[in-house]
Symmetry: C2
Subunit: 378 residues, 2 copies
Amino acid sequence: MKFTISRNLLMNSINNVSVAISSRTAIPILTGMKLQITKEGLTLTGSDSNISIESFIPTQTDETINIENIVPGSIVVQAQYFPQIIRKLPENVVHIEVDDQANMSIRSGKAHFTLNGINAEEYPQLPVVTDDESFTIQTDLLKSLIRQTVFAISVMETRPILTGVNVQLNDSTLTFTATDGHRLASREVFLQDTTITIQSAVIPGSSLNELYKILDDKEETVKISLTNNLILFKTESLYFLSRLLDGKYPETSSLIPDEQQTMLHVNTQQLIQTVDRAALLASRDRNQVIKLETKDNNVIEISSESLEIGEVVEEINVIEHSGDPLQISFSAKYLHDGLRAIESDEVRITFSGSMRPFVIRPNNDDPVLQLILPVRTF
Amino acid sequence: MKFTISRNLLMNSINNVSVAISSRTAIPILTGMKLQITKEGLTLTGSDSNISIESFIPTQTDETINIENIVPGSIVVQAQYFPQIIRKLPENVVHIEVDDQANMSIRSGKAHFTLNGINAEEYPQLPVVTDDESFTIQTDLLKSLIRQTVFAISVMETRPILTGVNVQLNDSTLTFTATDGHRLASREVFLQDTTITIQSAVIPGSSLNELYKILDDKEETVKISLTNNLILFKTESLYFLSRLLDGKYPETSSLIPDEQQTMLHVNTQQLIQTVDRAALLASRDRNQVIKLETKDNNVIEISSESLEIGEVVEEINVIEHSGDPLQISFSAKYLHDGLRAIESDEVRITFSGSMRPFVIRPNNDDPVLQLILPVRTF
């Protein structure tokens, strides 16, 4: 086995598959990174019990030669050392060669590393996902779906199904939903060319966070394929496989109130900053509960107090206040997260009473919403 | 008590005194920050058992008014909340007012905070250091003295005196020395206008690290005053008081070898990078021991190996190699630290045998040296 490659290209692939490799795994060989070189290109593989990632570097991209001097073969090297070595090599050209005893030689400039490897035949085969059930989505849309929902998953293991994001596809509408029982985030996207239906597939939030990090904005589309218990995200150079969570995701659509007693149309940044200030004195133990109260003339007051520390009160002008006067308490952290995730300069917040969930929507027609449950403070 | 000030000016002072405030202290009031406003300006104070810091903002700097609406007074506020509140205020103008019950009101824009304070009379008086024994040094020189030595202090509490930097002043020459028993860093500076003598004053390394962080490069000089057990660093706006370490600092001058069997004149950056690569495979448990071996024609070889991981070897060209051939092992970390601290593009390393300490000096006449003890590997 032998090849010559650019350090920067190789490092990029290493970074992508590294996120799947854990030093704590029940299967020792999975602490390693697999390299397979063929005439077509170099495939790197990393895997743990939840996700598996393959990153592919083609021998040639258009007119550019990426890899030279290829003698096909494969090996597994220790993921604790291999990435650090490649990162610190003195020159951009890297010569890699593996002998019959699975010793990898890495040469760059005058530096020469020898790294003990493991025979690649011992590395487990990744499961095969057919593309019978698959659809294609723009990379930036997929990243929005993840970014606007995944933060709202539960971090508690008491209801494992809530640590995932629920994916549904009906009538060409793809929906991502996440909730921890105290708040809910939901985002929809219309997919033109899709006819398949997904009742419910729950992807671990941790998998989506890793996928988000390594999805390359230069890739235009992602192909998503599903089996019973696996989901595959595939681009030109990336193969990202995650297990799905077992169990039934709760019905969430009934949580969103139809009625509206009070509506606030506000500047998002201004509200975020005021909420952050009020959160400074709110107790962290109780998720930083703050109070919102409507005043006359399109003014609202945000406040919080703590006997030991002190109190804070701030008035802000809203763009519009319609409906009933309101006094409501809630977690500053949840409101902050929800306002940010809307990704709109102005938002509309609709309330249906001080003990009912309230809903944040953008001031445009984007199909994204954030729902937050209030906190009883009296 | 009352005053109006710019948030940015206040924040800068808060950051300076915050480094002295610990949330874990035997004296509860020291978890707070003291503010004292007079017609002359605002003084902030923070203190723990090791250091005390005062930061002063004058009412007026040249033509610029810094503080207005002054009603003199003082108060202690909780250092866990006050800095965060000031940092997040909506506008740059801050109105602060304290009532008879030690409640501090902070107003900026439409935000209004009330913070429970403590009567400043309960705050301990800082010790007074007279300037009988004092000298003045340029700020940038003092920062060099700290930067080039403090990293070499011991982090082990077995010999507490080695956790400090030894300061000596003789014949107008100021010397900072630090050693952990395996390496030594020393830097001298000539002070023109000083006649006093300091036999030995050992400043805790942690105090110097904090001082380094907050010393403002805009201040031209620092006045240093000493008493039996305290050292005071004073600038226009800063008053930094540290306790000195008790005990006798070991005699270190005899450690530096006079003789020279081998000399290497090398490019600093090139050697640092090669050492860092060799360190990748060197065991962390033994301070990353690597090997240096001289070859013919001004070439040296740096290598390290680990049975479990692999090996690395790299040759580099040196500018000059004179004297005997040499084979020596030492900590890659110590060599890296020493090479960086010399702050010179080229260095001269002089050896007097493979089991004797070696010395790194810059290629110019700067009075700085780094001494490293080798490691026996056979």
